[in-house]
């Protein structure tokens, strides 16, 4: 967290700079099946974030040493397009994207029924086309819908969502200014039907009580996003194959 104390992020009327309430999410839209070449795909817009996910597989796992006898491995690449941020970022992976790829893959392996595909690999490609804080969560949501679009069975749809803290107040779904100048960020991956958590990161400063409130907001938002995900998949199947 940037943690610059001198930037005002809450208005005098108690609302946030963009007019949202403390526990209000940015608008989310989801479209499934947008990439003709992939086995499954989705585009998620979350505020101004644009995340696209493509799924390929299950396929034979190569090289052999990554194979698991009892289950599929999920190979995630989270990548930010060079033009997705205010300052251009050099193409290729960096330490941040490698870490996010690793923990996202582990979260997805926790919800996909990987036991059904021993020795296989499922490739999940997450591309961030525009970034406005919260890209890893938008990517998780997109990956879940793309996996469902590919017909890969899951215990539940994994929903990516974050809460945080600005000016000592817990708020849902930080936008860019709140992320840059806020005090904490708690991005999670939630299984709405089981109430379990498959993805968890956090940085900044949160008291135990603040953590509990932030997590409460996250569960509430996850339920909302889950509906939008289900809607997207329904539209996709009603619309038929592309």
């Amino acid at each position: 967290m940037g943690g610059y104390g001198d930037v005002k992020l809450l208005r005098d009327d108690g609302l946030r700079l963009d007019g949202r309430k403390l526990d209000e999410m940015r608008p989310v839209t989801i479209e499934a099946g947008i990439l003709p070449a992939a086995d499954g795909s989705a585009m998620v817009t979350h505020g101004l974030n644009v995340a696209v996910a493509a799924v390929y597989g299950p396929m034979e796992a190569h090289p052999r040493k990554i194979q698991r006898q009892d289950r599929a491995v999920i190979d995630v690449r989270y990548n930010m397009a060079p033009f997705s941020t205010s300052d251009r970022i050099r193409p290729g992976f960096n330490r941040r994207s490698r870490e996010i790829s690793k923990v996202t893959a582990e979260a997805l392996e926790s919800v996909v029924l990987v036991e059904r595909y021993p020795r296989s690999k499922i490739r999940v490609e997450i591309e961030i086309l525009a970034a406005e804080a919260g890209t890893r969560c938008a990517g998780i949501t997109a990956a879940s819908v793309a996996l469902a679009d590919a017909g890969i069975p899951m215990r539940d749809l994994l929903v990516g969502v974050a809460s945080g803290k600005v000016e000592d107040i817990v708020v849902l779904d930080l936008d860019k200014a709140e992320d840059n100048y806020g005090q904490a960020d708690l991005p999670v991956g939630i299984l709405p039907n089981t109430g379990e958590i498959a993805f968890l990161q956090m940085d900044g400063d949160l008291s135990p009580d603040e953590y509990n409130l932030a997590m409460e907001y996250n569960f509430k938002a996850a339920a909302e996003i889950h509906e939008i995900m289900v809607d997207a998949l329904k539209r996709r199947y009603e619309g038929g194959e592309n």
Partner: protein, 261 residues
């Protein structure tokens, strides 16, 4: 390597070619419908999305301020890069840029650069000290055949919408980048023994060498490239060169139409 499918596909494509037919019903010199959107990406200073059959490509333009080369103190720079990343097709593997990616980026780059549509002198801020570097990054999201033309179109369309972010860099007011012309690429692949325009994914899989032609507003050549295994005759080139002129004009009009919106 399962090479059975391409072999059967080659036979089918040859059979169709005997009757001057194509797999998807198009005529030999017909392109697929092209959907072009401009200014579609938050954070990019210029952007475009091209959908051409099953091919989907985004391009985004970013600017940076840099020190000019000592021997060209009043010239900025232009750079265009493309990557065929694993998102775009099952066949692309992760890793450093492949020769295919490098070729794609460099062919698109040469077409735009050599057309002279960007006056490098116009990118100067303070001679010898500060010039603009313009970077066009092309992101192929779905490779459904003929990514070269889709990338070339997305790149020039994005560039033509670009706004120089002078305010953010504290060097004056934002202004629209001046772009003199609309270089357009037309690509041909040998399928079933003869060239066709705008090959589909299947035609590329069962086809041979390809030729990429970039033409400027006046119909001059700015870039040529032959890729893959195969040879061609001057007569064959003359034929596709003619077609390229027509197709490039049509796509240039499409760019103008979108900009008029």
């Amino acid at each position: 390597m399962v090479e059975l499918v391409p072999t059967l596909l080659r036979q089918e494509l040859a059979r169709l070619a005997d009757d001057d037919l194509r797999l998807d019903g198009r005529g030999r010199w017909d392109g697929r419908d092209v959907d072009l959107q401009i200014d579609c990406l938050y954070n990019a200073e210029g952007s475009a999305k091209v959908v051409m059959g099953k091919t989907i490509v985004y391009a985004g333009v970013k600017f940076e301020i840099r020190t000019p080369w000592p021997d060209r103190p009043s010239q900025g720079s232009l750079m265009c890069g493309a990557e065929l990343r694993p998102v775009a097709h099952r066949k692309y593997e992760p890793g450093p840029p492949s020769p295919q990616s490098i070729e794609l980026g460099r062919v698109v780059d040469r077409g735009i650069r050599e057309s002279g549509c960007i006056d490098m002198e116009s990118l100067c801020i303070v001679p010898g000290e500060k010039v603009w570097g313009v970077m066009i990054d092309i992101h192929v999201l779905s490779d459904g055949g003929n990514v070269f033309d889709a990338c070339g179109l997305a790149a020039i369309a994005a560039l033509r919408t670009a706004v120089v972010p002078a305010e953010r860099f504290d060097v004056g007011e934002d202004y629209t980048l001046k772009v003199n012309g609309t270089p357009i690429m037309a690509s041909f692949t040998r399928v079933g023994g003869r060239y066709v325009f705008d090959p589909s994914e299947e035609e590329e899989l069962g086809g041979d060498e390809r030729i990429h032609i970039t033409l400027g507003d006046e119909g001059h050549l700015h870039s040529l490239q032959k890729g893959l295994r195969g040879v061609f005759t001057p007569a064959e080139f003359a034929e596709i060169f003619e077609v390229a002129h027509q197709r490039c004009s049509e796509l240039r009009k499409l760019v103008a139409t979108q900009e008029g919106n």
